[in-house]
């Protein structure tokens, strides 16, 4: 269905390519802004913060190059008064603290502050208290066609934590690896949920997966259920629906909770199930 719009855009561009020209209106100018991202979780090995600068579009010949800012002072602190400066890690291309150096605990509120040049950025998040696991994850093979394409159907369900506002992300990866780890796993499904109108109830999700690889052997899937804070939810809800700028759809402002710039500081709890077919 998205292809209908793309067909129309392509039709316009081809049919009326003779009618394209530089616009005769004064375009808005803006200054670069600092951008900060961090996704905190008790289940991750450490806490990472990335810093870059936005690039104004008009009059710029820069495209897609966002060099990391490596000389900022970045501080991670909690609501108990503990804080620590985060050193820049070339390996992680981010400011990084291992969990052994600064633990991320469920239910706590964390603030990240970054200072460089004339910029000061600040973002706050409260870690969700509970990790919510899947109650059931089922995968089944539906069919194969003469071309070798195989179809699978996966469904999963979980129980919402009652009396608390919850947000979830279901992320599905497939991998075929004979070695440990997820190094060649690819995301094949992603959805955001809130418990609006379904507090305390069973929530569910499903995916249909087509395997064109012809390599033989069934794929395996990692299914992640993330219980997130509102900032993670609001950011990814827009981000996962962002397909680039399409002149016929209303542009979506990306979510930000960073004061002094763009980006998001957010948190999640993660549970994982594997489906081996």
């Amino acid at each position: 269905m998205k292809s209908t719009l793309n067909i129309w855009i392509l039709f316009c561009l081809i049919a009326f390519s003779a009618c394209q020209r530089v616009a005769t209106v004064k375009v808005p100018q803006t200054d670069p802004l600092p951008v900060m991202f961090s996704f905190l979780s008790p289940e991750s090995e450490g806490s990472a913060v990335t810093l870059t600068m936005s690039v104004p579009i008009f009059g710029s010949n820069s495209y897609g190059n966002f060099d990391p800012i490596a000389n900022a002072q970045v501080t991670l602190s909690d609501n108990n008064g503990n804080s620590k400066v985060m050193p820049y890690s070339i390996l992680n291309t981010a400011y990084y603290l291992d969990q052994t150096e600064f633990k991320i605990n469920p239910g706590m509120t964390y603030t990240i502050e970054a200072k460089f040049k004339e910029y000061t950025l600040k973002g706050t998040t409260t870690i969700p208290l509970v990790m919510v696991p899947f109650e059931e994850v089922i995968g089944e093979k539906l069919a194969s066609d003469p071309n070798g394409t195989e179809r699978y159907f996966l469904k999963m369900k979980w129980k919402d934590q009652a009396s608390i506002k919850n947000y979830y992300r279901v992320n599905l990866e497939d991998f075929k690896s004979s070695t440990p780890g997820d190094t060649n796993a690819f995301s094949v499904g992603d959805k955001m949920y809130s418990d609006e109108g379904k507090d305390g109830q069973i929530l569910s999700d499903k995916y249909e997966y087509f395997d064109y690889s012809l390599s033989g052997g069934a794929p395996s899937f990692n299914a992640y259920l993330l219980n997130t804070d509102i900032h993670y939810y609001e950011y990814h809800k827009r981000r996962l629906n962002y397909y680039g700028d399409d002149p016929f759809s209303e542009p979506v402002q990306q979510y930000s909770n960073v004061k002094g710039g763009l980006g998001v500081v957010c948190s999640y709890r993660k549970s994982k199930s594997q489906v081996l077919l």
Binding site: A23, V27, A143, D245
Partner: protein, 790 residues
């Protein structure tokens, strides 16, 4: 206080006495139908005046008129735009049925207009914010690719904006395209557009009248917030067979009308189809076909049972089809496409209970559906997927028109509409998997209403039209009951000048949700539910109406203020593509409801219209100054923003000049031109880019997938370049032996203005620096068409 009470009591007694027929002296009624001589087409809104009494009435939507007067001798004057006025005298000593036949006006001379010979003057009509466009003007105004388009002509009127270049959608006094009630012979038309909004469905050949109401809505109208576009089809010539045909660049059309039983029954059939696909098909490779076409068909038949009973049956059937097919092996074919269309059918019964009471009952069917389909066949096995959405209505209406005397025109009525909404449905047939399933999300609802209104004359100067509509909507266990008060007033300062005011409260239970600005057929029609409240609005308007009788034109100047609440829009990041019916069937919810949010709207402005409807030169000048803002808690971070179609200034100049009529010795020539200007649309523009990663739960550390996202201006903060364009047309008519032939040459966008259709980010010429680029959809576009009329 006592004096005030006495005055109110006196007014009530006066109104009661004026309502009661035969209250004092013997009164009798002259009634009947006003028709065109020859064809016997009923004439709607024709004026019947009694100049000596400075009173009169107008014919209703079925050509019926009724005047109740004390016994006596009266001179009547009947007039209607485009027809010769008719004067006659009657000695009214009993009830008389008198059908009046009017001759089309001779076109060789200007109509001589005097204070006595006058069509219904703008200053004498209670209603305001209503504009009627003569059908002939719609056919004369130059159009894109020569395709005459009713809705595009409405866009030339003050208070009506268009969505974008070439788009037929109308935005009336700040309202969106779903807030217009478009009626064709009592049937609601849901998606009134062909070719992604570039052309409307309505074939001007088959139409008799088009009337746009922007405010001051009488109580008989409801269900939409912003406007009513009421169109009536012709009945068909009851005397002889006539027809028209035309060949244009985009489509060809024909119309045939004639008697079934002479003088009693007639039919009309009109059809149109594009043929570009048929012409190009032979040149496409046999294994790959693609194309687009649209067609529509209007048909009507009517039968006059007797003087008091008439039956009408009319229908519309139209389709758009975008298709492709590809044969990539002997045993393998892929095909697919997008198609959409409307079907309407109306059965009406006119019945005259008494000389003063006229009634119409209508049974109406209306259906709109669009479908996206794809089918792959391999070795005889089929995989087919069909996604569709639509709305279907069954309507029963009964309207009564009661004219007890010359001071009152009372209308009462009721309607029942059974809606069937299918916001989304999917059918999958898969021979490989052995599946054949349909998942459909269907919602049934009732939309009902009763109303009463009265057009009251109080003394020689004051007219009042109070009304009350009571609407009801029932869906899945939820009921909404909404009273909708209405009021229009007119005070005649002088014989040709009046001051008018109006108030209207409106409710809308059926919504169109769209994430695009081009009005794609993928826009969804959905109902109010227990979670999605009805949209409501109230509007006040005031203005003056002046008739320049000697010069034969009218001027109206109006100001309005409108507020709307529970206006719906997609949430940020959501779109039509999220409405998976499979989700609905699993979760039991309407997924589209989760993707929409509601907010408020304010619109205010002033409109000037100077219109000349008769004579060798006709046309109008329209100017609108307006503001439209919206506010949604979940959009633009809760801040107010301009509506996309908020257009500060809007100007239209329309002129049609008949140089001469066709005769046996020389051609008839008519030239026409339009010029439009509008402030640019308000859009949201990207101004910067930044790294916005998507968190990958399965990847440790900071190995995020990096993606570029855009930073934007505030919603709709950027103004596109102003839009302006001139169109020009020439019609040359020649009287042939059996028909009148017309060549029409027209030019759209005469001075080749590069109006932006949309913007995108591109590169400056010979540079890597990025800049804003624009695409223009229609530069100068000439067209030629050939038409005959017999």
């Amino acid at each position: 206080m006592k004096t005030t009470k006495l005055k109110c009591l006196g007014l009530l007694i006066y109104l009661f006495c004026s309502l009661t027929p035969n209250a004092q002296t013997s009164k009798f009624t002259i009634s009947g139908y006003i028709k065109e001589s020859g064809s016997q087409e009923l004439l709607l809104g024709a004026s019947i005046a009694i100049p000596a009494l400075k009173t009169g009435t107008t014919s209703n939507n079925y050509g019926f008129y009724s005047l109740t007067l004390p016994a006596g001798k009266y001179a009547f004057l009947v007039s209607y735009i485009g027809f010769e006025p008719k004067a006659f005298s009657i000695d009214l000593q009993k009830n008389i049925e008198w059908d009046i036949l009017l001759q089309p006006a001779s076109a060789l001379k200007e109509l001589v207009v005097s204070a006595e010979k006058q069509q219904a003057r703008l200053s004498e009509v209670t209603r305001m914010s209503v504009i009627e466009i003569p059908i002939q003007q719609i056919k004369d105004i130059p159009a894109l690719l020569g395709e005459k388009d009713v809705l595009k002509v409405l866009q030339l009127l003050p208070g009506v904006q268009k969505g974008g270049e070439g788009n037929s959608g109308i935005y009336v006094r700040g309202g969106g395209p779903d807030q217009n009630l478009i009626i064709l012979d009592d049937a609601i038309v849901y998606n009134a557009f062909h070719l992604f909004g570039f052309f409307s469905l309505f074939n001007g050949d088959a139409l008799k009248s088009v009337e746009l109401t922007k405010g001051g809505f009488p109580a008989r109208y409801g269900g939409r917030l912003s406007s009513v576009v009421e169109m009536n089809m012709k009945e068909g010539n009851k005397e002889k067979l006539k027809g028209e045909a035309g060949i244009g660049i985009l489509s060809s059309r024909f119309l045939l009308e004639g008697p079934i039983i002479k003088g009693k029954s007639s039919f009309l059939v009109s059809a149109r189809r594009t043929y570009f696909d048929a012409l190009t098909r032979p040149f496409l490779p046999a294994t790959n076909k693609a194309g687009y076409y649209f067609y529509d068909l209007n048909a009507k038949a009517n039968y006059e049972i007797n003087n008091k009973n008439k039956l009408f049956l009319s229908g519309y059937f139209g389709r758009d089809n975008f298709y492709f097919s590809s044969k990539y092996a002997d045993n393998a074919i892929d095909k697919g496409g997008l198609k959409w269309g409307n079907v309407t059918g109306t059965l009406r019964w006119n019945h005259q209970y008494t000389p003063q009471i006229f009634a119409n009952s209508s049974l109406v069917f209306s259906d709109y559906k669009f479908q996206l389909y794809q089918e792959s066949t391999y070795n005889g096995s089929v995989y087919a997927m069909r996604y569709y959405s639509g709305i279907r209505d069954y309507t029963l209406k009964h309207d009564i028109d009661y004219r007890p005397n010359t001071n009152h025109t009372i209308k009462v009525g009721a309607q029942l509409i059974r809606h069937q909404f299918v916001p989304s449905a999917i059918v999958v047939k898969d021979d490989y998997a052995g599946t054949n399933q349909e998942i459909k999300n269907t919602i049934y609802a009732w939309e009902n209403a009763i109303y009463a209104e009265d057009d009251i004359k109080i003394g020689p100067r004051f007219r009042l039209n109070p009304g009350l509509r009571f609407s009801h909507f029932q869906v899945t266990g939820k009921n909404y009951f909404k009273p909708e008060p209405r009021l229009s007033m007119a005070y005649k300062v002088k014989s040709d000048l009046s001051i008018k005011g109006s108030y209207a409260m409106m409710n809308q239970y059926v919504h169109l949700i769209s994430n695009t600005s081009v009005g794609l057929p993928t826009d969804l029609w959905v109902p109010s539910t227990k979670n999605t409240l009805p949209q409501t609005s109230w509007q006040v308007a005031g203005g003056i109406a002046k008739d320049f009788i000697e010069k034969n034109f009218a001027l109206s100047l109006e100001g309005y203020y409108k507020e709307g609440s529970n206006i719906i829009a997609y949430k940020e990041g959501a779109s039509f593509f999220d409405t998976d019916p499979a989700d609905a069937s699993v979760s039991g919810t309407n997924t589209w409801e989760q993707n929409i949010t509601r907010g408020r709207m304010w619109s205010y402005g002033a409109e000037l219209l100077i219109q000349k409807k008769t004579g060798n030169f006709t046309g109008w000048i329209g100017y609108t100054l307006s503001w439209t803002q919206m506010q949604f808690n979940e959009l633009n971070f809760g801040q107010k923003f301009w509506a996309r179609y908020d257009r500060r200034h809007d100007i239209s100049l329309v002129g049609i000049y008949k140089v001469r009529d066709e005769t046996a010795s020389h051609n008839g020539i008519k030239i026409s031109g339009t010029w439009v200007y509008g402030t640019g649309n308000a859009i949201t523009l990207p101004i910067a880019e930044y790294d916005a990663p998507v968190h990958q739960p399965g990847h440790p550390g900071s190995n995020f997938y990096y993606n570029t996202a855009s930073q934007y201006t505030s919603r709709n903060q950027f103004r596109m370049a102003p839009y302006h364009r001139m169109d020009f047309g020439v019609q040359v008519q020649k009287k042939m032996k059996h028909w009148v032939r017309t060549w029409e040459f027209s030019v759209y966008n005469l001075y080749n203005r590069y109006n932006p259709y949309f913007y995108y980010i591109g590169y400056e010429p010979n540079s890597f620096k990025r800049t804003l680029m624009q695409i223009t959809l229609f530069p100068i576009v000439p067209s030629l068409s050939w038409n005959i009329k017999f």
